[in-house]
């Protein structure tokens, strides 16, 4: 008996594909006996097109219920006949003329076959196989057996598959009805595969017919959609897989699978971060939650149990073996690498002179700071040693008790994290890491600047000039000489941050690197955050299509700063957030024009003092500084007059923001040292200012070509000249920073504190109108213990007041019971450091009072000041819980760690992936293509 074929054509907004498909149907050598057209809620001209084709039935099906639902809706109308076949077609499945004939031919010779599928060819490349046959891995992941291969008849022998795609599927109507059609939960992906598997388990065969070909614009998930993000595609496929897993699993294993849904989603989310697909995470959980609340599992399980005649072993051979799966993955990765865009041609590091500049910077760096090479630690200016063990280092991060001043409970500076990571690199002696930073600072700065500049220039020596300008930058050398570690790190990292942020527009990995660098720079120099955010916003506006990647850059920094922000806002002291982290140091305010010359402190980068010492009149230093820097500054401003405005204007805007930051910072005196206040050191702002100037100068050098040789040479010479006094001061060891043995307090205290870690040392620093009191615990207050919360606090809490009463009385001839208070606070030493000129009288009073105090045993003058000992009894000082002592502290640590970990995972470079796009959605019709977009 001649089989009867009903073509079921399902269309959903397929107006652009339908004409070709309908025409192809009309030209079949074996015409279907009837055409049922299903309009699945189209909103374009689909319905009219279908109606024009004169189908036997034109039915409407609900949108978003999927292909299977549409077919079920169509079939509910007609009566089944014997030997009746359904030919399922989507609006894009234009068949070749002999397709139906070939399919029927294949099923007629093999009565056991219930399902036959054609080859799916690409819509606009009919000789490329889009997909042919579907199967499962051993873990139940679905995949096409053959896809994206040029059809050279190499697969024309393949016939038995585990499943075939629904587009062009020919299925016996009786089987379709007996199996209950497509699973209602599977609206797109895996619906046909699941149906095929059930057919096979019911004892039928599923074959592919190589000689039958239909067109296809993409996989089932894309049906009726213009494009599909990897995230959405992953969610659909993942849900389908989870649904099938719950349906296929043995009854006893279902609860186990169900319980594992969310934990596995969490684990896979980490994998997605690692593979630079953070956008998949939401879908991953969406799919898992969908499966958790998947009410149709039992219905589907019952359906399967009803129709299944064979065991699962029957289809085992049709699964893809693990070895083959791995080989295919390897091939896919190789193919992606092969198609990766070739890198931009720029100057080579060795050919372009970068290596020379870095080498010279390394030599200069060694000459300047080489005398630190055998130092255990550095001290002076803004530097004090770090904690002596990695454990202590990490105990100073997070929200908890901090032994700074009188001690307080609060959030540590994010800079503590930076120091903890830095110190952990040299875990045997954390302070050594700071020494290494000093030794490597110059070559690192040169290296970063060179690579950053090379990204924007084609000429070989433009990056070399940038490296010189960046390495000799006055704020950088001043920061090194004054021990402003935060500014030093920021200066080294700023060009790398720029590089990462620029590349972040195209790469998740780079966005994550930029986010980490942004967090470090923000932690080191919080004052730069407003300017950097502004630059980022402008960059996002310039690259709106990458906004999702760029907008994430501040996230790790925001999370690290969040506890501090909350506390400072709670104190109504938001400006305290920009305070420079580390040891508070008084800085002399530099004037506007001196800042413009890069001089972060009074004295024009040391030229004033140098010329003063040489006996030159006072007016000479500004002239020298201006003449030396003039070529560089002129070159930077010249960038506006030459081609390349698109780069020079942003660069100079960065310079402007940096300058404004420097100027404003000096006027925000938020950091408190005893009776004095100090503004934010302008060096950080000037570093940003210098970044902009250097960038602009590079644009000018690029644009001027050969004509720029002389000005660029003069600029480089001038930059070196301006740094001479500062370098000399560093090399001769007359700068504020000096080698240290790692002790923070007199040796006597260190020895005593070695056995009593909680022993306090009361430091009384004479001020012009009083005394500043602070307690050091154990070996002293290390750099990583410093806190801007303490340094910007304008209020006295209870601990402060208690310390104040003790300090006021111990600094006086007083009847106060000093001894029992020292016992209660576990203070064993009193230290009075040298005082400034204006506080000499007050210091005498302190020394007199302490000498006159019978409880105290004078030890004498030490390198750190006068010291007294009190024989304190055993006990514990009052202190609050540590960072891991409260749920809040643990929670804060956990969230911060999670965010940073995620960012690090995302930053580790792995693979590139493609976005799926329906052909014709934006470009020509009929093409499945990948944007070189490595999400």
């Amino acid at each position: 008996m001649q089989p009867r074929v009903i073509a079921v054509l399902v269309a959903q907004n397929g107006a652009q594909y339908l004409p070709r498909t309908l025409a192809a149907l009309a030209t079949q050598t074996r015409r279907p006996d009837a055409l049922i057209a299903v309009d699945a809620g189209s909103t374009d001209g689909t319905r009219e097109l279908l109606a024009a084709a004169n189908p036997a039935e034109l039915v409407s099906a609900p949108r978003h219920k999927g292909f299977g639902a549409a077919i079920a809706r169509a079939l509910s109308l007609g009566e089944p006949h014997d030997n009746e076949w359904l030919w399922l077609l989507g609006h894009d499945n234009a068949p070749e003329p002999n397709t139906l004939a070939a399919l029927l031919g294949a099923v007629e010779v093999a009565p056991s076959v219930a399902i036959a599928g054609p080859k799916q060819m690409r819509w606009d490349e009919p000789d490329v196989i889009a997909g042919f046959g579907e199967t499962l891995t051993r873990f139940g992941r679905s995949l096409s057996v053959i896809h994206d291969e040029l059809d050279q008849a190499q697969h024309d022998t393949a016939s038995d598959f585990l499943g075939v795609a629904e587009g062009g599927m020919l299925v016996r109507r009786s089987v379709f009805a007996a199996l209950g059609g497509f699973d209602r939960s599977l609206t797109s992906a895996d619906a046909a595969l699941d149906f095929s598997i059930r057919a096979r388990l019911a004892g039928h065969r599923v074959i592919g017919v190589p000689s039958a070909r239909v067109a296809s614009v993409g996989p089932a998930e894309l049906f009726g959609r213009r494009s599909l993000s990897p995230a959405a595609q992953n969610q659909v496929r993942r849900f389908a897989q989870l649904h099938r897993r719950l349906v296929y699993a043995a009854g006893a294993a279902v609860p186990l699978h169900w319980l594992g849904l969310l934990p596995i989603a969490l684990g896979r989310s980490f994998m997605h971060v690692l593979t630079k697909q953070p956008t998949l995470i939401a879908g991953e959980f969406g799919a898992a939650l969908g499966a958790v609340f998947d009410g149709r599992v039992w219905e589907a399980r019952a359906n399967l149990a009803r129709t299944r005649k064979l065991g699962w072993a029957a289809i085992g051979e049709l699964r893809m073996p693990g070895a083959e799966v791995r080989e295919r993955q390897a091939q896919e990765r190789a193919a992606v690498l092969h198609t990766a865009p070739t890198s931009r041609v720029g100057p080579g590091f060795f050919v372009g002179g970068g290596a020379w500049v870095v080498l010279v910077a390394a030599i200069v760096g060694f000459v300047a700071f080489g005398h630190f090479s055998d130092a255990q630690a550095l001290t002076g200016g803004g530097l004090v040693p770090l904690s002596s063990t990695v454990g202590e280092l990490w105990s100073h991060v997070g929200y908890g008790w901090h032994d700074v001043g009188a001690g307080f409970t609060g959030a540590a500076d994010p800079f503590s994290y930076v120091l903890a990571v830095l110190g952990s690199l040299t875990f045997w002696s954390p302070s050594t890491s700071v020494v290494i930073v000093y030794l490597a600072a110059l070559p690192l700065a040169a290296l970063g600047a060179w690579y950053c500049a090379a990204r924007f220039s084609a000429r070989a020596w433009a990056p070399a000039v940038a490296a010189v300008a960046w390495t000799a930058a006055p704020p950088f050398i001043s920061a090194l000489n004054e021990g402003r570690l935060g500014v030093v790190l920021t200066h080294i990292l700023l060009p790398v941050l720029v590089l990462a942020a620029v590349n972040a527009a195209r790469s998740w990995s780079m966005a994550a690197v930029a986010a980490l660098l942004f967090a470090v720079v923000a932690a080191c120099t919080p004052v730069l955050v407003p300017a950097l955010l502004l630059v980022l916003v402008v960059w996002i506006l310039a690259r709106p299509t990458s906004a999702h990647r760029l907008a994430g850059i501040p996230i790790p920094a925001a999370v690290l700063f969040a506890p501090l922000i909350v506390q400072q806002l709670g104190r109504v002291n938001p400006l305290g957030l920009i305070a420079e982290p580390g040891v508070p140091v008084l800085s002399q305010e530099s004037t506007g024009w001196q800042l413009a010359l890069g001089s972060s402190d009074l004295g024009l980068n040391g030229w004033s003092a140098a010329l003063d010492a040489a006996g030159a009149p006072a007016g000479v230093a500004p002239v020298v500084a201006i003449v030396a820097l003039a070529p560089f500054l002129v070159l930077a401003l010249l960038a506006l007059f030459v081609p390349g405005t698109a780069r020079s204007v942003p660069a100079l805007l960065i310079a402007l923001l940096g300058f404004v930051t420097a100027v404003i910072g000096t006027h925000l005196q938020v950091t408190i040292l005893g009776a004095e206040t100090t503004g934010v050191w302008p060096g950080a702002g000037l570093s940003l200012y210098w970044l902009g100037l250097t960038g602009a100068a590079i644009v000018a050098v690029e644009a001027l070509g050969r004509a720029s040789a002389l000005p660029a040479f003069l600029a480089a010479i001038g930059l070196v000249v301006i740094g001479i006094p500062a370098f000399t001061s560093a090399a001769s060891g007359t700068s504020a920073v000096e080698a240290s043995n790692g002790r923070l307090l007199p040796a006597f205290v260190s020895a005593e504190a070695a056995s009593r870690g909680n022993l306090g040392t009361l430091q009384l620093t004479a001020q012009s109108d009083g005394v500043a009191a602070a307690v050091h615990r154990g070996q002293g207050t290390t750099l990583d213990e410093q806190s801007t919360l303490a340094a910007t606090d304008t209020r006295l809490d209870r601990a402060d007041r208690r310390l104040g009463v003790l300090a006021g009385n111990i600094s006086s001839r007083s009847g106060f019971d000093v001894a029992s208070e020292l016992d209660a606070l576990q203070i064993g030493f009193v230290l009075v450091p040298d005082a400034s000129d204006g506080a000499v009288g007050m210091r005498h009073r302190l020394v007199d009072a302490l000498d006159g105090n019978r409880s105290l045993i004078p030890i004498g003058n030490t390198a750190d000041g006068y010291l007294w000992h009190y024989d304190v009894g055993a006990g514990t000082p009052p202190r609050g819980p540590s960072a891991i002592g409260t749920p809040l502290g643990i929670g804060i640590l956990a969230v911060q760690a999670l965010v940073v970990l995620m960012t690090v995972l995302l930053a580790i470079p792995t693979t590139r992936r493609a976005r799926l796009r329906a052909p014709g959605a934006t470009r020509r019709l009929g093409q499945t293509e990948a944007e070189p977009d490595d999400d």
């Binding site: 009188a406 305290g576 004037t591 506007g592 024009w593 413009a596 401003l637 506006l640 007059f641 081609p643 390349g644 405005t645 204007v649 100079l652 402007l656 300058f659 404004v660 100027v663 006027h667 925000l668 005196q669 950091t671 408190i672 004095e676 206040t677 644009a703 001020q767 009083g770 005394v771 500043a772 009191a773 602070a774 910007t792 606090d793 304008t794 006295l796 007041r801 310390l803 104040g804 300090a807 006021g808 009385n809 600094s811 006086s812 001839r813 007083s814 009847g815 106060f816 204006g838 000499v840 009288g841 005498h844 009073r845 020394v847 007199d848 009072a849 000498d851 006159g852 019978r854 004078p858």
Partner: protein, 497 residues
């Protein structure tokens, strides 16, 4: 934004279009460049010259009033000389008589104890230094105790002739003594009084007109508990015309004094006991410079070179290095007469003696302002016929709000008050023995008030004053000591924590 790409794109277009477009581009770039340069110039000028507002955090501090405790002062004791009554044992000090000492406190009872040992063998005697102490006032526990004392001694024995007065002062760990001389005929003794129960180790730094004096024996000087050491400055170095002594002690605290006696030929040239000046400071105030009779002094000066130390002279010393720009103002008291004013550069590390010439008879306040901290004192002489005497005037600390002083039992006491402020001060003097008076000190001026010997006065109702008491016996004798704030070391203190 303009980019060079634009030109490349336009390249195949007709020539005329290129030039028009290129011209527009160049014009736009020039405009952009000029705007950029303009912004840069405006920004730098604005940052340099605009008075930008400064946000300044208020350092968190609290004024802590120390818990009152026993107040303790040390009275220097008798005038001393080297060699005994018989001119023998020329290296051993011995006392000349004993001073008359007067003291009082706001809390009533005072415990007075003589030192137990002394190089001058005065232990346990009335000639020994004494410690006076007032216990905390149990009735008014929170109230600061005012304790003061002073001593006067008129010496007239062989070549030691003169009037000396000193107040009982607080022992401390760091003191600057400015005055004395070890030139021919001048003997200067350094007394180190340790009122505490523990031994004190003293280190001396000596400076002279030619710089620091390096001498053996300046460190590790042990002063026993409740003991006095007497050292001759000449023992460290002779022929230093202008010594300055920096006394630093550890352990027990020390009251250091200098005693200078002058002999010209065989004629006595005066005697004085004087205490430490204020710590190095950029503002030194020396009230109570009393010029008794210019003519008498000038008459004596014809006697020759050895009388060159008769006119008033200011001794300055700046610790450290470099030169210190200094301004000296000599302001007459009671607004009468003319003072003097001069500027000079003081070379740090060397002691400078600066004669204050041409002062008329009268009383003055000397103010020394300097760029860097220095110490200062004035020497002034008085004469009546052949009899003459001198006094060293140390700079005094400022008094604030409340103070007490005792007028030593000496002749012709006059209180000198100097008001450094910008508004007049009316201060009330209340005698402990009863009676009070109000004295108005005009802004920036000084006044002299006669006071009663052996009387203790409380000063109240003022903000800031400097004070001194002078004594003259009408027979050439002159003495003076400065007023000190009460309970030094127990005034309220601001603590930043």
């Amino acid at each position: 934004m303009i980019d060079d790409d634009d030109i490349d794109v336009a390249a195949p277009a007709p020539k005329q279009r290129i030039s028009a477009r290129a011209a527009a581009l160049i014009g736009a770039r020039t405009a952009a460049g000029l705007i950029g340069v303009g912004i840069a110039v405006v920004l730098v000028l604005a940052a340099t010259f605009l008075p930008l507002p400064t946000v300044k955090a208020v350092p968190p501090g609290e004024r802590i009033t120390p818990v009152p405790t026993a107040q303790q002062l040390v009275c220097p004791g008798a005038a001393l000389r080297l060699a005994n009554d018989f001119g023998q044992r020329a290296t051993e000090p011995s006392p000349i008589g004993a001073p008359a000492t007067q003291f009082a406190s706001s809390s009533g009872p005072i415990d007075s104890r003589a030192f137990t040992q002394s190089d001058a063998s005065t232990g346990h005697t009335a000639a020994a230094p004494s410690t006076i102490s007032a216990p905390p006032n149990q009735a008014e526990a929170g109230k600061q105790i005012l304790l003061s004392g002073a001593q006067a001694q008129s010496v007239s024995e062989a070549e030691f002739v003169g009037l000396a007065a000193a107040d009982c002062a607080v022992a401390n760990g760091d003191a600057w003594l400015v005055g004395g001389s070890t030139s021919v005929g001048r003997t200067t003794l350094l007394t180190l009084d340790n009122p505490s129960e523990v031994a004190s180790t003293v280190t001396l730094e000596l400076f002279g007109e030619s710089g620091p004096i390096v001498a053996p024996g300046t460190s590790g000087i042990i002063v026993p508990p409740n003991g006095q050491r007497v050292l001759s400055l000449a023992g460290f170095k002779r022929d230093v015309a202008s010594p300055v002594v920096h006394v630093m002690s550890t352990g027990g605290q020390i009251l250091a004094n200098l005693q200078q006696s002058t002999v010209r030929g065989l004629a006595p040239g005066g005697f004085d006991i004087f205490g430490p000046t204020t710590s190095p400071s950029t503002e030194n105030v020396i009230p109570g410079l009393l010029v008794t009779d210019v003519v008498e002094v000038q008459n004596l000066q014809v006697g020759g070179e050895s009388f060159n130390d008769l006119p008033p002279s200011l001794r300055l010393f700046a610790p450290g290095e470099g030169t210190v720009a200094t301004t000296v103002n000599v302001v007459p008291e009671n607004g009468q007469g003319t003072g003097a004013s001069l500027s000079l550069d003081v070379e740090a590390g060397r002691v400078v003696d600066l004669p204050i010439a041409d002062l008329d008879t009268g009383s003055y306040t000397v103010k020394v302002s300097s760029k860097q901290p220095l110490v200062a004192a004035v020497r002034v002489s008085s004469a009546k016929g052949a009899a003459n005497d001198f006094a060293w005037l140390a700079a005094t600390p400022d008094l604030s709000a409340r103070a007490q002083f005792t007028v030593a039992p000496g002749p012709g006491p006059i209180l000198h008050l100097s008001n450094p402020g910008k508004s007049d001060e009316t201060v009330r003097l209340t005698a402990r023995s009863g009676g009070r008076m109000d004295v108005t000190v005009p802004a920036g001026a000084s006044v002299a008030v006669a006071v009663t010997p052996s009387t203790t006065y409380e000063l109240t109702g003022f903000e800031e004053l400097f004070g001194a008491v002078t004594f003259t016996d009408g027979n050439g004798g002159i003495a003076r000591y400065g007023l000190h704030p009460p309970g030094a070391g127990s005034t309220p203190i601001r603590v930043y924590s």
